[in-house]
Symmetry: C2
Subunit: 263 residues, 2 copies
DNA sequence: CGTTTAATTGACATTATTCAACCCGGGTGG
DNA sequence: CCACCCGGGTTGAATAATGTCAATTAAACG
């Protein structure tokens, strides 16, 4: 298999590394395990629907580059984006367990991804406890994002929600290794943002204008400029603890390998 | 250990059975594995804070009876309840991985639970692939609940949210084996409901009054009477697919044991 | 019984939505 | 090259949904 060679192996694992490395030390064995599961490196164009709402899952993907959105389309035409899948995240992990999806998975940008066939991935999970533990960790990580989103939607104002997701995105993008934090590309329209925040486009627009007016940030042409990081985080009530986890240190007898610090 | 005897073993596993059984056939081996992890059967009084917000996790619990809430307390005094833990669910599964919790875990009612010490549970996970797979399934299940909650908070009206959670609770309680669906006890105040739905108490009250007026349901003194199930589900736009899953059937070579139908 | 907590209700304030008009830049076909 | 078109983006005004305040009633509890 093409991906079994040095270059391919490195590429597959590197994407996942930053995510898992907060939890366990990745050695050569797990690297080759993951590379062995992967059977293809694929590209999709922006706009591609990977899994339609109500449709059947394909295989699990490990996103290498680009952005994928998971969204629900409502009967009245409204849409709610449930999460944003960034490089290093898994796309459609549920494909392992469920037949169909209640959400649409679509490519916001052109993407590249490693394909992890369900049966191989499943088999590997059954055999390799370390891999299981790693996915357990990844799941918990994503669960935290959803929980925090629930808090935002339930108890934060539009302005707070806007600042909060932006903080979250910046924080997550840092992990994937972006260069400039003050100025970064976010390939999303105001309408898509409003569908993440659960507000109308018009209100989204007005909120962004106000934030710009107040010298906190500017978001134009997919370019986010953070003008005042401190105020941004304060207004959002943002705490990155749920992204850059504090791992528990007191009971680690069972851990798969030697632990390294998440920070 | 007390719980290793016949009665204890049956009790521990029975709670979990209904949940996992949609995924895999539970045999004696996994039963005794789970029972072996459990080292205590505990009771807590209503109001007990199992894990304070920002505080350290204890052990994982498997809830046998009673209701537990996971909630975030905001700086301004507001609260958002992120999920409701029902019998058969795990409490604080994150204790396996994380040191502290961003949420408060508190007992809404008196509860009984089986204690699963983190190190034992972790060790068992590393050794027992079937157990890992089962928890993988449970995690996915809960992730679905959170995703659906996000849709509600983002794109459903107060009335829709109210009807929707009630549908969800009924559907989940069915799994735990309630007798009467038309009339069931929900140990929550209107204020707590409003903190689930992300609306104010006053508006919650008015919404409930309207639903009663319209002959859809009545909720008084913790007693929910479903007057018109059909309309309730229609108004909510409720589809129980995310609770009573459809498992994928096409690729099951890797499954831990023989599969049985989830329905 | 008093006391306390939860529920209820009306009046009013705030937030966000909807509608509609307009702008603006990037294609695109003539 | 220009005129047009189209999909965001921007803005103000009217409307609807929900929140806040405050007062009252009802239920729970020792």
């Amino acid at each position: 298999m093409d991906l079994q060679d040095k270059a391919g192996l490195a590429a597959v694992t590197e994407v996942l590394l930053r995510k898992i490395s907060g939890f366990l030390e990745v050695d050569d064995e797990i690297k080759s395990t993951i590379a062995g599961i992967c059977d293809d490196h694929q590209e999709f164009r922006a706009g591609t629907v990977l899994v339609p709402q109500g449709g059947h899952y394909g295989d699990v993907l490990l996103l290498e580059s680009g952005w994928v959105l998971r969204a629900r389309h409502m009967e009245n035409g409204a849409r709610q984006i449930v999460n944003v899948v960034l490089p290093g995240d898994f796309v459609a992990m549920n494909a392992l367990l469920f037949a169909t999806s209640d959400f649409e998975l679509s490519c916001k940008t052109d993407i590249t991804a490693f394909r992890l066939p369900s049966n191989r991935l499943g088999t590997a999970l059954m055999r390799n406890a370390i891999l299981s533990a790693a996915l357990f960790w990844v799941n918990a990580h994503e669960e935290s994002l959803l929980a925090e989103r629930i808090v935002s939607l339930g108890r934060r104002s539009a302005r707070e929600r806007a600042t909060h997701v932006l903080c979250e995105l910046i924080s997550r993008l840092e992990i994937t290794g972006i260069s400039n934090i003050e100025q970064l590309v976010i390939p999303m329209s105001q309408e898509e943002f409003s569908d993440i925040l659960g507000i109308s486009v018009v209100h989204m627009n007005k909120t962004l204008r106000a934030l710009e007016q107040d010298g906190i940030l500017s978001f134009r042409n997919s370019l986010l400029r953070v003008l005042d990081k401190k105020r941004l985080e304060t207004e959002a009530g943002f705490n990155d603890g749920y992204i850059h986890f504090t791992r528990r240190e007191d009971q680690n007898a069972w851990r798969p390998t030697r632990l390294i610090d998440a920070r």
